[in-house]
Subunit: 286 residues, 2 copies
Amino acid sequence: MVSDGTGWTAEHSVNAALGQFEHCLVDRVCPVSTHLFSGIDDVERLMEVIKQAAKEGAMLVYTLADPSMAESAKQACQLWGIPSADILGPITESIASHLGVSPSGLPRWARGRSSSLSEDYFRRIEAVEFTIKQDDGALPENLHKADIVLAGVSRTGKTPLSIYLSQKGYKVANVPIVMNVKLPSALFEIDPEKVFGLTINAVVLHTIRSARSRTLGFAEDIRSNYSEMDHVKEELEFAAKIFAQNPVWPVIEVTGKAIEETAAIVLRLFHDRKNRCSMPRISKRY
Amino acid sequence: MVSDGTGWTAEHSVNAALGQFEHCLVDRVCPVSTHLFSGIDDVERLMEVIKQAAKEGAMLVYTLADPSMAESAKQACQLWGIPSADILGPITESIASHLGVSPSGLPRWARGRSSSLSEDYFRRIEAVEFTIKQDDGALPENLHKADIVLAGVSRTGKTPLSIYLSQKGYKVANVPIVMNVKLPSALFEIDPEKVFGLTINAVVLHTIRSARSRTLGFAEDIRSNYSEMDHVKEELEFAAKIFAQNPVWPVIEVTGKAIEETAAIVLRLFHDRKNRCSMPRISKRY
Ligand SMILES: Nc1ncnc2c1ncn2[C@@H]1O[C@H](COP(=O)(O)O)[C@@H](O)[C@H]1O
Ligand SMILES: Nc1ncnc2c1ncn2[C@@H]1O[C@H](COP(=O)(O)O)[C@@H](O)[C@H]1O
Ligand SMILES: [Mg+2]
Ligand SMILES: [Mg+2]
């Protein structure tokens, strides 16, 4: 993977595309490896990477804003018999003809820098900082300032989910549900439409907690209480009761879902509630 | 944008592609808006979105794993005269012919769920949790456990950068440099090859801090000290001196860079140091 920028777009797309080959990646039936070369902004280094790809029998996936760089990549790959895929070229062309405007052809490092001091940029940083401070039930007096509040028992993924959402610009707070521990009263005083419950299959949670208590080196007695199957079940029932008492909170089943999948569900519900439009969507103005 | 999954791949690609039209997006010369429809996993809802796109004169960008869904999208767009772009179809086909394996055609919700309990998955969650706890110079006794340590004055983006890197699976600690405050001795006892200095242009930092101290509602006297130009300059010089005394630490200029750009630079240097190979790259086994 080659980019004149960070390479994250190529990496993200390749990751998603490789999801289509999981049947073959499992147990390394097809042993796939990727190599990401970022900041490739001159033809010499581009050719070095392509030669390396030829040697290793690899394919080249690239995002190169400068049309002459992209063309060089394409031609060199044809010459050397390397399969190649241009990730952004086709969509950039479609957008160009839709807007009736030519693409600048400038990689991100070459454009003006004003946009990185944009309002949206600072809003996202503020959201991340807010969310870190609110982690794990801290500062319940700030719950009303959050855009989204997540509630669930330990190891339902509240922390990584909060962080993921915060990077998209949402201020998130998370509140742990612990067996027989009273939840902060603020949780019931804020707008219930912004609270989301998380739940998970008991067997899976038990597995996750057992692994975790070993890693954290919990003492045997705490460990058994935290990860023992009966306790896990009771705690999930305790949480379920709270969710039932607050029927406005959507309850999301996270078993087997990646963080970004749960995030997509939370945001779909969140925007649906805000817009009440015919179909849930996330809209953005550029 | 339509996806049978989270929609984040489409959103990421469209964001990057729109970077090529910044000259026209600025001041909303071309007023572009996007609408993201995630979890579209049946033809009926797909057609609803496409009809909506036709009404609004929009273009359709899609990622649909099921080939018959992708084909329906393409044909409906042709029928209704809507420009469209398939983000992952072409790269998935290239990978398929390179590997000599057919894509599964299964969207992410339809595949087995084992992978989400993978080692890599837990490693990333652990990294996020570690990084949150280490924010803002907390727990210097844990600096030796970090993969990456960031040092810089306030508002060089240490926190959001740490979080961004942690989501890629790196344990990150950040240490604030404050005028005339002694840094934790642990910072000089750990492997210096994992420490990175951050610096920024004084005028830009002054602007950022002035905006921040207003938001935080600092008292007038603290505010002037924190954001006053002379103080900003002195503190940056204080940091520069520390960096000069630790010449192994790379110093990264963050002015005008987005968090993901600085992250790419840090990781390029980090992997370069680890591999000492001919060209810096980030490698991953699937
Ligand atoms: N804001 C932007 N302005 C111009 N080009 C961009 C922008 N963001 C990403 N790109 C380009 O999009 C491609 C993918 O970027 P990256 O994800 O950083 O590798 C590269 O060719 C970048 O130069
Ligand atoms: N792990 C995966 N397994 C199968 N398909 C995936 C995976 N990750 C992403 N995809 C597919 O890739 C496209 C983009 O995913 P998303 O970014 O979630 O919208 C969708 O068609 C998903 O169904
Ligand atoms: Mg947590
Ligand atoms: Mg900070």
